[in-house]
Amino acid sequence: MASEDIVVGLEIGTSKVCAVVGETRRDGTVKILGVGQAPSRGVRKGEIVDFDTAGKCVREALADAEEKSDVMIRSVFLAVTGGHTESFNNRGSVNIPEDREEICEDDFEDVQAAAREVSIPPANMFLHSILQHYYVDGQDGVLNPVGMMGRKLEADFHIVHGVGTRIKNSVRCVKELDIEVEDVVFAPLAAAQVVLDLNQKNLGALVIDIGGGTTGYVVYVDGAIKQSGCLAVGGDHVTNDISLGLRIPMARAERLKVEEGSVILGQSVPGEVLVLKDETGFAGREIEREMLNTIIHCRIREAFELLKRQTDEANYLPFLGAGVLLTGGCSMLQGIDQLAEEVFGLPVHLTHAHTVSGVTSAFENPQFSTAIGLIKYAQAMQGDKPRGWFSRIRRKLPFFGVW
């Protein structure tokens, strides 16, 4: 197996660091060879706050992945996220020079550069500019304008940017371990690659990736990314709320959330109590189930409402034919799909990476969606196996045809 077909996706998450080793095949499929993970420390709300500790966790996760997949890891695709990331749509346009009428590949780069000529805050750097649609001489719906005649090429791009230093911090954290970072990818975009198939992208879908520290979302309409973003609220917040509300330690609150928590109100018998098992010599505490659920409900509902408002502002909700797809570790909360349905008024599905094969236990877990998505992303990026003109374009303009 040629080594360039082996790709590693690394996500330094708030609750865990996870590295997925995958094999990208010529027929466009992906096979997962192994998943390494380590509990994460030194990461808050998707951003590294303790460099050394986070570095150790990354090393642990990579070592675990090497062992399980029997692959030596030299380079990774890294997912980044955090409340600092922002996105917007912009149109770039270039005029085709007088001396030729045909649109050629070089024009793509020009049009992409033109789309990036917008002011973002000086501290920010571009993460992605993803193609949405082409227009040739103002004509809509052109899928591939190479070779077409035209005077003016325009393209809509979805542009994601974030604070440069914070993105570089994540990169440095990996580079210090002598591992190359091939590319950084905005985490929700990666997750969307594996939870959505082409059909769902065309129908329109909202992918919500609720992780430990952040909630990322991506809106697909007509096969193109229209909106993406990140809300720095996640499962950690739920745990924190429980810990503060019930006055129990964080670790206990986390277990309570995972084992007993639900977002559905009014389902427990009034007065039903949970007795915390005595583990540390601390007398068993009684906790009312309804209160636990209320705390979780409030937090998750608020997060959904904030997301709904953002997608509502751009008025994409009516175009989401495939509905809402929930993934990420926090999507395992009981009843979360019902709550999402209630808030968004759309069909909601709990999903995980389903467009890959290999280690089943890995891709059936919504926690790994982002890391597996990185492999899918990498596959799209590679394009090192010439397959006619189409992949040549892909090499020039990596995002083409994938997004």
Partner: protein
């Protein structure tokens, strides 16, 4: 603290208001007030510049220093503005006439505004009127010189006026979208001033179920170096209580209610038509209480104003210390001394506490006029006519300040107690493990604080 309703309502009919617009910015504000439908008899434009005066819509116009500036402006020189006002002091007094409440709109930083404002304010006080000054501070890009002129003038004004509400142009411009045309940015301050003039005059005019008097306004705004928080909102329909409060909090000087958490005194008046229900007031106040801390004293007023019809209006008024640090309320003008701050400890001796507390219990019916008149006679004797040779910029020593409204001492005591209570707070708003991380603020809410705490969902 909610004041007991006072049934013996004083007649409000003889509230005679004059609205003075001083200088260029004042004239603009006056135009706006006129447009917003004020009684035009009340408006008086005062300026050194005849050309600007002619352009004003106010029916009464007073030209300052006709001999001195010969109809030109004061040229950005406060000294000249001051001398011009001095020359025309009689005309100013005549224009104020028998008004007992004078609102003065002035843009500080220039010549006429900064120079003449303190003098006009003390002229009005000579006429036994209560003086409320709406001052705008210049944009910081106008230069440090103008800013320091404005600050000096503001300091003097605070001594010579009863209430100074200070608007910072910089902050008001923040609320304007960066793409908005420049006129819009400038008109925001005029709009805000007009709105607050209207709001305060209706505060005083409205028949209160729970009356808000001048003394409450003074309490709410009392701060050494005030940065004013002012919000006004009106709404009608099913959710009028919620919407009116939301609009009030969205006012440019309100910071969406974020600053409210730090204030010590806040005045809120809810006014509605005859159909105003207790339920609406309750909903509104419950929501409002979430924005303030437990130790904030709420001066609450409710009023019926038939003019409002089925609309509901909320006025919020408070002040913060501009330096950010919230000082304990200084009893402004309680005793005449040059540096009030240094005397604060003496101001509230512990021995006095038990004696003064009962005062607040049988809080007398407040008629602001009755309150003001005896006070006025007392302070008149001390009120020096500003000396011509004294440079305007200096703070008047032995400042002529009237005795504070009666409840002040008791209020200070109360405020002090509340501070003590703060330390015993059982459930401080906390962010738990996110305590030290960068807060995630969306719409003024810190998302790291548990949602159920922010939304006041408290299951047992």
């Amino acid at each position: 603290m909610i004041e007991l309703p006072r049934n013996q309502l004083p007649p409000q009919a003889d509230l005679r208001i004059k609205i003075l617009g001083l200088g260029g910015a004042g004239a603009n504000a006056l135009d706006r007030i006129q447009l917003d439908g004020a009684n035009s008899d009340e408006l008086v434009a005062i300026n050194t510049d005849t050309q600007a005066l002619t352009g004003s819509v106010a029916p009464h116009k007073v030209q300052l220093g006709a001999g001195l500036t010969r109809g030109l402006g004061a040229g950005g020189d406060p000294e000249l503005g001051y001398r011009a006002a001095e020359e025309s002091a009689d005309e100013i007094r005549a224009a104020i006439g028998h008004a007992n409440v004078v609102f003065m709109c002035v843009g500080l930083g220039g010549g006429t505004g900064s120079g003449a404002a303190p003098l006009v304010a003390s002229c009005a006080r000579d006429q036994e009127a209560l003086v409320v000054v709406f001052a705008t501070m210049p944009f910081s890009f106008e230069g440090k010189r103008r800013m320091s002129q404005a600050e000096e003038s503001l300091a003097t004004l605070q001594q010579s006026a009863d209430v100074v509400i200070c608007f910072e142009n910089d902050r008001m411009a923040e609320s304007v979208s960066p793409r908005a045309p420049i006129q819009e940015a400038f008109s925001v301050s005029d709009q805000t001033i007009s709105q607050s003039v209207r709001a305060i005059s209706s505060l005083l005019r409205r028949r209160g179920l729970l009356h808000v008097g001048f003394d409450e306004i003074v309490t709410a705004l009392r701060q050494q170096n005030p940065r004013c928080l002012f919000g006004y909102g009106e709404a009608e329909g099913d959710h009028s209580a919620h919407q009116a409060l939301e609009r009030a909090l969205k006012s440019p000087l309100m910071d969406r209610g974020r600053m409210l958490a730090d204030v010590q005194n806040v005045l809120i008046q809810v006014a509605g038509g005859p159909q105003l229900t207790l339920n609406e007031v309750q909903i509104l106040m419950e929501e409002f209480n979430r924005h303030i801390s437990d130790t904030t004293r709420v001066l609450f007023g409710a009023a019926i104003d038939p003019q409002l019809g089925n609309r509901l209006a909320v006025t919020i008024l408070s002040s913060l210390d501009a330096d950010g640090a919230v000082h304990s309320p200084v009893v402004r003008g309680a005793v005449s001394h040059p540096a009030p701050a240094r005397h604060i400890p003496a101001e509230r001796p512990a021995v006095e506490e038990p004696l003064r507390v009962p005062d607040s219990m049988d809080f007398p019916p407040q008629d602001l006029l009755e309150e003001a008149l005896p006070a006025e006679t007392f302070s008149d004797a001390e009120l020096p006519v500003p000396q011509p040779e004294r440079p305007i910029v200096s703070r008047p020593v032995g400042a002529p300040v009237r005795p504070a409204p009666r409840p002040t001492a008791a209020e200070v005591v109360a405020a002090k107690r509340e501070t003590r209570q703060e330390q015993m707070q059982f459930e401080p708003v906390t962010r738990g493990r996110f305590e030290k991380s960068e807060p995630t603020i969306v719409d003024g809410q810190d998302l790291d604080v548990p949602t159920f705490l922010r939304r006041n969902v408290r299951p047992k």
